[in-house]
């Protein structure tokens, strides 16, 4: 295999693995902010136990997210040196801003979050929780800005030619607010909120099914359901706007997402289907004129097909892009229905009696994860053959100094390490969940209260 395909596999593998964790941190962080706010508001010990339980899981997720994230930062330079030279002026700036503004904020306050429970007051701790969550959301901003610039580059000009060519910033804010930034950041945020909320609901549902920690689990579930339903509904808007941007700025990607080879008027919107690239046929269930309606507001408006682009400028893996995109949409729709129905039951007061529904929630934790993954596959594979849209080809972006055997070595190493990491993650997550938020005997006292009691008794001796 050549260096290009190996480097692409390595990048795809390391980024996909990394992307399991940051969305969970962001989403779980937000849910924890609500939990701890409830604790401060009510003083009810159940909210403290809840927050501390999820904090332990948050620490685990965050730790793996950081460890796998640093790999990403250096992989641009190691495997994609030409790309790094080309985009450093623009992309590097966003990455550096991420490090200094966002990552430092979350990692700095994380120590207080985890170890500071007995060191700082409740308000300072709550402040730290907010800072960590904000930090992780800021991280997402800069990373998505950098990626969005690759999708819809603006605010730059090209200096030099051939090997020496590179993009330089002409307008920083035009670069930051490129045409797809806002849409994609909100899309990514909401996907992350869903990932976090569904993790909390999954674990809570499992406890409820087992009849354990009932009061705590009901409260956790309700908080997470609130985050989940709002995010699922807003995602409809954000997702639609993201697709709009693609239709506008990356028509070849849109054609692949919908499996359209010939330009059509009106163009259909597939609910599901299968793309055969050889015969250039897409079979499936479609809404006639739906795509035209969505993109242009009229069922009669024309949509460009893949064949209207030169072969070398359009994505190759059409069926893959089609499938990943449609899986994402299907999951998004299902999550809206699921959360709306659950809110209705919650309002009726019968939610926690529906055991089948709780079982659905136990497994539904995988759905936002899958949707987040396949959504990114759509975005990144659909952008091919470009690494920076219409400017730099992926095949031209490699490191000249790196040989295939080196990438094979690192790829094997990462595969081994990440499988180990994932196994440990699942094992420890399971252990923490089995252990639960508290033991029966410490039901009454929070450790902070215990500590106060201890200090009182030791003074009397």
């Amino acid at each position: 295999m050549d260096v290009e395909i190996l480097s692409r596999i390595q990048f795809a593998f390391t980024i996909a693995f990394h992307y399991i964790y940051p969305p969970l941190s962001i989403g779980l962080g937000l849910v924890m902010v609500f939990m701890e706010a409830q604790y401060l508001r009510t003083g009810n010990v159940i909210y403290e136990k809840m927050t501390r339980f999820w904090l332990r899981i948050f620490a685990l997720i965050f730790g793996i997210g950081v460890a796998t994230g640093i790999v990403m930062e250096f992989e641009f330079g190691t495997n994609w040196a030409v790309y790094s030279r080309y985009v450093g002026d623009v992309f590097g700036s966003a990455l550096a801003a991420e490090g200094i503004f966002a990552f430092a904020l979350e990692s700095g306050f994380l120590g207080i979050l985890i170890f500071g429970w007995n060191r700082v007051g409740p308000k300072v701790h709550f402040f730290s929780t907010i800072m960590v969550t904000l930090g992780s959301m800021f991280s997402a901003i800069w990373i998505v800005v950098a990626n969005s610039w690759q999708q819809t580059p603006t605010g730059y000009h090209i200096v030099g030619e051939g090997l020496k060519a590179r993009a330089e910033i002409t307008d920083f804010w035009a670069m930051v607010f490129n045409p797809s930034s806002i849409e994609r950041i909100s899309h990514v945020w909401l996907g992350s909120f869903l990932a976090g909320a569904f993790l909390v609901m999954s674990v809570s549902a499992w406890y409820l099914l087992k009849g354990k920690y009932v009061e705590l689990s009901r409260s956790s579930f309700s908080i997470a359901l609130g985050v989940g339903v709002v995010s699922a509904l807003l995602q409809l808007v954000a997702g639609h706007r993201s697709a709009d941007v693609v239709a506008h700025y990356q028509p070849a990607k849109l054609a692949a997402m919908e499996g359209h080879f010939d330009s059509m008027k009106p163009a259909d919107l597939y609910l599901f289907g299968w793309v055969d690239k050889k015969s250039q046929k897409t079979t499936g269930i479609a809404i006639p004129g739906g795509l035209s309606l969505f993109v242009h507001g009229s069922t009669e408006a024309p949509i460009r097909g893949l064949n209207s682009f030169p072969e070398k400028n359009r994505p190759g893996a059409v069926n893959f892009v089609f499938q990943t995109y449609h899986i994402m949409i299907a999951i998004g729709m299902f999550l809206i229905a699921l959360t709306l129905y659950s809110v209705y039951l919650w309002w009726r007061g019968t939610l926690f009696e529906k055991r089948w529904l709780l079982w659905v929630y136990v497994w539904a934790v995988l759905l936002p994860q899958i949707a987040n993954q396949v959504g990114w596959y759509t975005a990144e594979v659909g952008r091919q053959p470009w690494v920076v849209y219409n400017l730099l080809r992926t095949s031209d972006a490699l490191s000249e100094a790196v040989k295939a055997e080196q990438v094979i070595f690192s790829l094997i190493m990462f595969t081994f390490v990440y499988i180990l990491l994932f196994a440990l993650f699942v094992y420890l997550l399971n252990k923490k969940i089995t252990h639960g938020p508290y033991n029966d005997h410490d039901d009454e006292h929070s450790p902070r209260h215990l500590e106060m009691a201890e200090s009182l008794t030791s003074k009397t001796h």
Binding site: I70, L95, G111, I169, F172, S399
Partner: protein, 344 residues
Amino acid sequence: METFAGIDYNTWWFLVIGAVFTGYAILDGFDLGAGALHLFLRKENSRRIALNAIGPVWDGNEVWLVIGGGALFAGFPEVYASLLSAFYTPLMIFLVALIFRAVSIEFRSKEPMKWWRTMWDVSYSLSSALLAFLLGVILGNVALGIPLDENHIYRGEHSSFFNLYSVMVGITSLALLMMHGAIYLVMKTEDKLYDKLVFLVQRTTIFFVIALVITSFYTLLYIPHLTNQIRDTPAMFVLPVIMILAVANITRQISKRRYLFAFMSSAVVISVALIIVCLELYPTILYSSDSPENSLTVYNSASSQKTLGIMLTVAAIGVPLVGAYTTFVFWTFKGKVKLDETSY
């Protein structure tokens, strides 16, 4: 060329990156040093205390590496691209060691079994030592220079990375960070463990001094491009003098039980070592060993003046913020380690 306070943007950005990497070496340096010493502590409780001494801060310390990498990418993309693709294999090992270090800290305390804890202790200590060593090896290669062609692409053998000089710098770096880590742990411990660590400070200081002397002599004798500045500018002689005084001061402060001053002295040692390297290299960042005209300097490898200006603004806002919450976190966890239910 744009300037600020009489110094051009390129040089400012070189200073910022130097400062960030120095910050990384000082902050994560003590984590790595403490990690490298971990297996010298035999008792379970000692190991827990040592681990919890860095527990709340190591993650934040690692951020400086992330900022440094991003700053290099943004400010000197040519260096970022050439350096990282040239050092592919050792960097990949570095990244995996970084993962193992993080994972070992996180997972060690999660199970009570002895084999589990020993396994993570070994993995934690070896990965920390490897990281401390590799940081030195990378620095050694940067100082020595690597063969670059006219497009700044690495044209050397991949095994040449572990050359004699770089390995010497690697060992010196390991010794320095072990000393630094031992001093940090002394600040954080009491009783018998404290006595043991005071002993380790002495031993690692001796180790460091020997390594430093050998590496310095080798540099002075065989690597002219790293000694030109100090030959031409006698005033620079003050730097090695400061370094020697700072090393001597460590032992003095330890015996007076003023650990914070001892720690600051060892931070001064790290800073001065890196300042000397930066001054010797400047304006070069990555020296082309076989054809010096292909070297990457702060001028031919930099981003546009506009971007450097933007990034300097970002740094001017961001670095004080990072400094502020780093201080806040360290202040929160000041004093000796007390194990509680949130500990590792």
